[in-house]
């Protein structure tokens, strides 16, 4: 059995003044992609922010281990350099920073920048200010583009599909598939991911390992994310959460 790349045990997190995560567990092995579902405001983005080390998110109890070592107390940029990458739910636009310039800082290969920009239909955005005036879908594509160039081992995707039209979901999914090496058989993949989504459409294009449901700052998981999604559609988040049992880890008996 492969070792855990990410291991979160009994995590309690405050965002602002509020306790959001209340004893959450999740473990991700090398090559696995996990999907998290959950109603608005349950703490999905907070979880991803805690893994990345974003400001205003405070771990009060528990631990986050990456390759077996605690991430607590390590700054955002160092976590990124250790191999964690994030696609933000709401990326900011920044005045005066040209997208191309940022990409060149992330990755010096002009050829790679060009290839990915074209694949994500952002070729004409490179000379614009970062996210400035980008459409909802373009902002999401831009996040994936940056992740591609950053080349992380653990990819955290916070709603990569929200605001993306049904045709561009295919474009983005194709890029995510390549990023997560989903064209390789499951045991051969190296890169891991946590993907947050409200829409099921993207799951039709991706080949994920396991799905979780988050309620009240805790996670429960089941075998197949598409299955969970159709259950949620039928009986809602809370009932679906009730009938899941395993706690945080990909059920080993399933496959």
């Amino acid at each position: 059995m492969a070792k855990y790349l990410l291991e979160i045990r009994d995590l309690w997190v405050d965002a602002g003044e509020k306790t959001i995560l209340k004893g959450l567990n999740i473990s991700v092995r090398e090559g696995e992609s996990h999907v998290i579902f959950g109603p608005n405001g349950t703490g999905k983005s907070t979880l991803i922010g805690a893994i990345m080390g974003l400001p205003n998110i405070k771990v009060t109890k528990g631990d986050i281990l990456f390759r077996g070592k605690s991430l607590l107390g390590i700054l955002v940029d160092e976590r990124a350099r250790k191999g964690i990458g994030i696609g933000f739910q709401h990326p900011p636009a920044i005045d005066g920073i040209m997208l191309r310039k940022l990409l060149e800082i992330i990755n010096s290969s002009q050829a790679e920048i060009k290839r990915i920009a074209l694949a994500l239909k952002l070729g004409r955005h490179l000379e614009r200010d970062l996210n400035k005036g980008f459409s909802g879908g373009e902002v999401k594509a831009c996040e994936i583009m940056q992740l591609f160039l950053q080349n992380p081992d653990l990819v955290l995707l916070d709603e990569p599909d929200s605001g993306v039209d049904i045709e561009n979901i295919k474009v983005i999914s194709k890029a995510i598939r390549e990023l997560l090496q989903m064209n390789l058989p499951i045991g051969k993949r190296k890169r891991s991911a946590i993907i947050i989504t409200h829409g099921g459409n993207i799951l039709n294009y991706l080949d994920t390992d396991v799905g979780h449901v988050m309620i009240d700052g805790k996670l429960k998981c089941g075998a197949d994310s598409r299955e969970i999604f159709s259950k949620i559609k039928k009986c809602g988040y809370r009932d679906c959460y009730k009938c899941l049992s395993a706690n945080g880890e990909k059920p080993s008996g399933g496959k």
Binding site: V76, D77, A80, G85, I86, F88, I94, I97, I105, Q150
Partner: protein
């Protein structure tokens, strides 16, 4: 006072920082004052007259009323671009305080009808507690166009007072870029422009104020003639210093238009930025507007960049550089070096 090698006694290096370059082949003329004497004065264009002001005052009696009382051995230049002259290379001027603790400069710059001319003017010092006073007059005659780039780079304990008066003639253009890389203990920089029919003025300034520095910049533009236009863009960065930006525009003539924008970033808790934008419409057919925004570096923007593996210092300098680049997109290439220098300092200190 102990000096780091970068701030050493290397005069050429100092002059270089404020845009005074050698070789001079890149310029149309040069004018260098060291302490209380003219060290270099040369015109490389037959369309450009450069004289010591003291000498030209006898001939140019009309200047008396503008200048007011001046010392007998008045120090500074009298520059005139002849009618129709199109002078592409900039005139470079520099005022350097090396040993004497006080320097008083009077400069007069005349761009005659239909001429086009650029000036780069630097001020810097290499001493303790210097006092610099600079009084400048610009006459931009009908249909002429002048751009002025001023770069200041002071020791921390210097005090500086400057005043520029600009007369912009019919259909003439005056553009000023003012950048302060190292702010002194105290600086007051006043500019006032009067604009005639169809004339246009742009005042851009970038002030970087370090700890224990008290900086006041005051820009006034009077749109007197019909169709006169103006724009003031001020960017203030406080790295512990106090900055007061006073900007004022008055629409007196018919169909005048003006816009002013002052933005500021506070890099830490020690400093402050106080922006006072003022508009006054005297003529009902004037159109004036302003925007102002002051804040810290956005934590969201900072952590976004850091999440890509960029360290905090570099991320901050990217944001500040973006803040400067965003609007002042007419930055002349010679200013770019000064801006890079400024941004470089931020990344060291972050």
């Amino acid at each position: 006072m102990v000096k780091s090698p970068a701030e050493g006694n290397d005069m050429d290096g100092k002059l270089n920082l404020v845009g005074y370059d050698s070789p001079k082949t890149q310029s149309s003329g040069s004018f260098l004052v060291v302490d209380d004497g003219i060290a270099e004065m040369q015109s490389y264009s037959d369309k450009l007259e450069i004289l010591p002001l003291a000498k030209s005052l006898e001939k140019e009696q009309w200047l008396k009323e503008h200048l007011g009382p001046v010392p007998k051995k008045v120090l500074g230049f009298f520059v005139r671009a002849l009618p129709d002259a199109k002078i592409e290379k900039p005139l470079q001027a520099c005022f350097f305080m090396k040993e004497k603790k006080a320097q008083v400069i009077h400069n007069v710059f005349v761009a005659e009808k239909n001429s086009q001319v650029h000036l780069i003017s630097g001020c810097t010092d290499d001493l303790v507690e210097g006092k610099h006073t600079g009084i400048s007059l610009f006459f931009v005659r009908e249909n002429a166009s002048v751009s002025v780039t001023r770069i200041h780079h002071w020791s921390p304990d210097a005090s500086v007072f400057s005043k520029s008066s600009v007369f912009v003639g019919k259909n003439a253009v005056f553009d000023s870029n003012y950048i302060v890389i190292n702010s002194p203990k105290k600086e007051q920089a006043h500019s006032i422009a009067r604009v005639d029919d169809g004339g246009a003025v742009g005042f851009n300034s970038i002030i970087f104020s370090r700890e224990n520095s008290d900086f006041t910049i005051s820009d006034k533009i009077l749109l007197e003639g019909k169709n006169a236009r103006a724009e003031i863009i001020s960017r203030a960065i406080s790295d512990g210093g106090r900055i007061l930006t006073k900007t004022y525009m008055a629409g007196k003539g018919k169909d005048t238009r003006g816009h002013l924008e002052c933005d500021g970033i506070l890099l830490n808790e020690k400093g402050s930025i106080h922006a006072i934008p003022e508009l006054e419409a005297v003529n009902p057919k004037t159109n004036l507007s302003h925007e102002a925004g002051i804040g810290r570096i956005s934590e969201t923007e900072l952590s976004y960049l850091m999440a890509r593996g960029i360290d905090e210092a570099k991320a901050k300098s990217l944001i500040v550089k973006g803040f400067l680049d965003a609007k002042i997109n007419r930055i002349p290439p010679n200013l770019q070096k000064a801006i890079d220098e400024l941004v470089g300092k931020i990344s060291i200190q972050a």
